[in-house]
């Protein structure tokens, strides 16, 4: 196959990726788009086996190893993708992103070893970039995975002098990068890789659990750029296009996400260093709250005409999505008008609630976006807030300077009654008191969301 034809097929694969992203922008075309992307990736992979580089012949060297490695990858990747629970999606995306970054770094290292002294400076710089960013993406993603899977604390990990250690590591990494560019050689490169891995860890450690999705998205964009850089070194238009696409779309997504949370990207990444330590807020106050029993909740629901369910992070934690569906169906059977109010950043990942509720087979027409549902709270008898907190916190509108100030919220306070299902009086991720919990029209049902919901369902059945 000529180099031209080979590149042309690569370009076609790149176009498939563009179409994939285009398709993914609306639910109607999303699945088809993803399949087009997968076809593009398949074609791109197959065609490599039919193209011999100058002075070489087919089949590829190490053909057996290559096929074997792909087989291993498939055997690991497919079951992981098939079995993962939807609540664990952020972790899985983090992990996949990490291995992608790792792969890019490895490719750059091997190509560097292979080129030896024949590499020109631009290629070396691209290699160094790929190694740094790929390694950061790899180790950073592993840490985000550990946090999200709760194999380690989800709190920001800050230790005394932490910021100096991070700055030091960064400086050392950059120094190593310069060293590689000037001196060349395998050892400097390995040291650079090690430093980058370390920096990735240190960089993600201070980020709080709920900010982690933003970091994943950012690392995703970074990995895209490393792929583009590899494309430069390997002279592959496809890799350049695909990598840049991911880089650009990842950047936009990261920004959209940060905006929807009313936060700046900088604050997300370095907030732990600049924030004043949050006092265990409100605990000292001990104001009275109205807590209720599952039966109280069931009665309230039973006599409502319209109920809006507001699911949040805690619903995902409790994996209560199926039980919520059960409750909604029961209310619908009783002739109660039920809608879900979905906040764009409820859950652990943007749009996560939509995925979770889609999994629980909640019909489309019951899901309402924030802008749709907000004007209807005035006609709502009961708003039942399940494992959500920040996304309904009026402080976002009333308390300038609080961490979520300016974030649009679901205005449940306009409903006649509010029910909160949560385990304690602890605040949500943003760590700020929610006045709504003390509102006279609020009833609290303490306990794990799934357990509480199960009780409410059976109470409601018996009414």
């Amino acid at each position: 196959m000529s180099h031209f034809l080979y590149s042309l097929i690569g370009l076609a694969a790149g176009v498939c990726f563009i179409l994939a992203l285009k398709g993914l922008s609306t639910p109607k075309t999303a699945r088809r788009g993803n399949i087009i992307g997968a076809i593009g990736a398949t074609i791109a992979t197959l065609v490599v086996f039919f193209y011999a580089q100058e002075g070489e012949s087919l089949p590829l060297n190490n053909f057996g190893w290559i096929i074997g490695a792909i087989a291993v990858g498939v055997v690991i990747g497919v079951p992981a993708a098939r079995k993962v629970q939807m609540t664990q999606m952020p972790q899985l995306v983090a992990l996949f992103n990490g291995v992608g970054g790792g792969a890019a770094a490895l490719v750059a290292i091997v190509e560097y070893l292979h080129l030896g002294d024949t590499a020109n400076t631009a290629e070396v710089i691209a290699t160094v970039f790929t190694v740094i960013v790929g390694c950061v993406s790899f180790s950073g993603s592993i840490i985000t995975f550990l946090k999200l899977q709760e194999l380690m604390t989800t709190r920001p990990v800050v230790f005394p002098g932490g910021r100096f250690v991070i700055a030091g590591t960064l400086a050392a990494t950059l120094a190593a990068a310069v060293w590689v560019v000037i001196e060349l050689g395998t050892n400097p490169l390995m040291i650079l890789a090690a430093l980058s891995l370390l920096f990735g860890i240190l960089f993600v450690l201070p980020v709080g659990g709920a900010d982690v999705p933003i970091v994943i998205s950012l690392l995703n964009a970074f990995t895209g750029l490393t792929v583009a850089a590899s494309g430069y070194v390997l002279d592959s238009t496809l890799l350049i296009i695909a990598g840049t696409l991911v880089g650009a779309s990842g950047t936009i997504l990261t920004r959209l996400m940060a905006e929807a949370m009313g936060r700046s990207l900088f604050g997300t990444l370095f907030g732990a260093f600049t924030a004043k330590p949050q006092e265990a807020s409100g605990a000292a106050e001990e104001r009275p709250v109205r807590s209720g029993s599952p039966d109280d909740v069931a009665i309230l629901l039973n006599y409502a005409r319209r109920v809006v369910i507001v699911p949040g992070f805690g619903l995902a934690v409790a994996q209560a999505q199926h039980t919520v569906r059960e409750l909604a169906d029961l209310m619908l059977a009783k002739g109660i008008d039920v809608a879900y109010g979905i906040h764009p950043v409820a859950g652990r990942m943007p749009g996560h609630m939509n995925v979770l509720l889609a999994e629980a087979n909640v019909p489309y027409d019951q899901l309402a976006e924030m802008d749709e549902v907000n004007p209807t709270f005035g006609q709502t008898d009961v708003a039942i807030v399940i494992g959500a907190n920040d996304v309904v916190n009026p402080a976002a509108q009333t308390t300038p300077g609080c961490p979520i100030y300016g974030m649009p919220i679901l205005e449940v306070s306009n409903a006649a009654n509010i029910i909160f299902l949560k385990r304690s009086m602890r605040p949500g991720f943003a760590g700020i008191e929610n006045e709504l919990l003390y509102d006279p029209k609020t009833m609290l049902l303490f306990g794990d969301a799934k357990a509480s919901l199960t009780k409410v369902v059976s109470a409601l059945k018996n009414l």
Partner: protein
């Protein structure tokens, strides 16, 4: 390829990426993230190329590792995105749970 060609391709691809993604509804942010993630799995192509180049055991070992990782990224990414999107297909009544 000439540097200017590469830069041009890069700049245009940035615009394409920005334009295509900037008007997405937040409903699909999760699948979009995992779909974009899957796309950078094409580094698999690069991994195969360097595996072909590899002359030492070290190189081959690293390249094989890269292939495994890239395959996990690519195949897993597309599969999991498809799984998510399957759930978004319009369902009438939503009867069978």
């Amino acid at each position: 390829m000439e540097p200017i060609a590469i830069i041009s391709i890069f700049v245009l691809a940035v615009f394409v990426g920005f334009e295509v993604v900037s008007k997405v509804s937040s409903t699909l942010h999760t699948p979009l993230m995992s779909g974009a993630n899957a796309i950078h799995g094409v580094i698999l192509v690069g991994a195969i190329i360097v595996a072909d180049h590899s002359s030492t055991n070290l190189e081959l070992g690293l390249a094989v590792a890269a292939i495994i990782l890239a395959t996990i990224n690519m195949v897993g990414g597309f599969v999991v995105t498809d799984r998510m999107l399957e759930m978004f297909k319009p369902k009438k009544g939503g009867e069978k749970k």
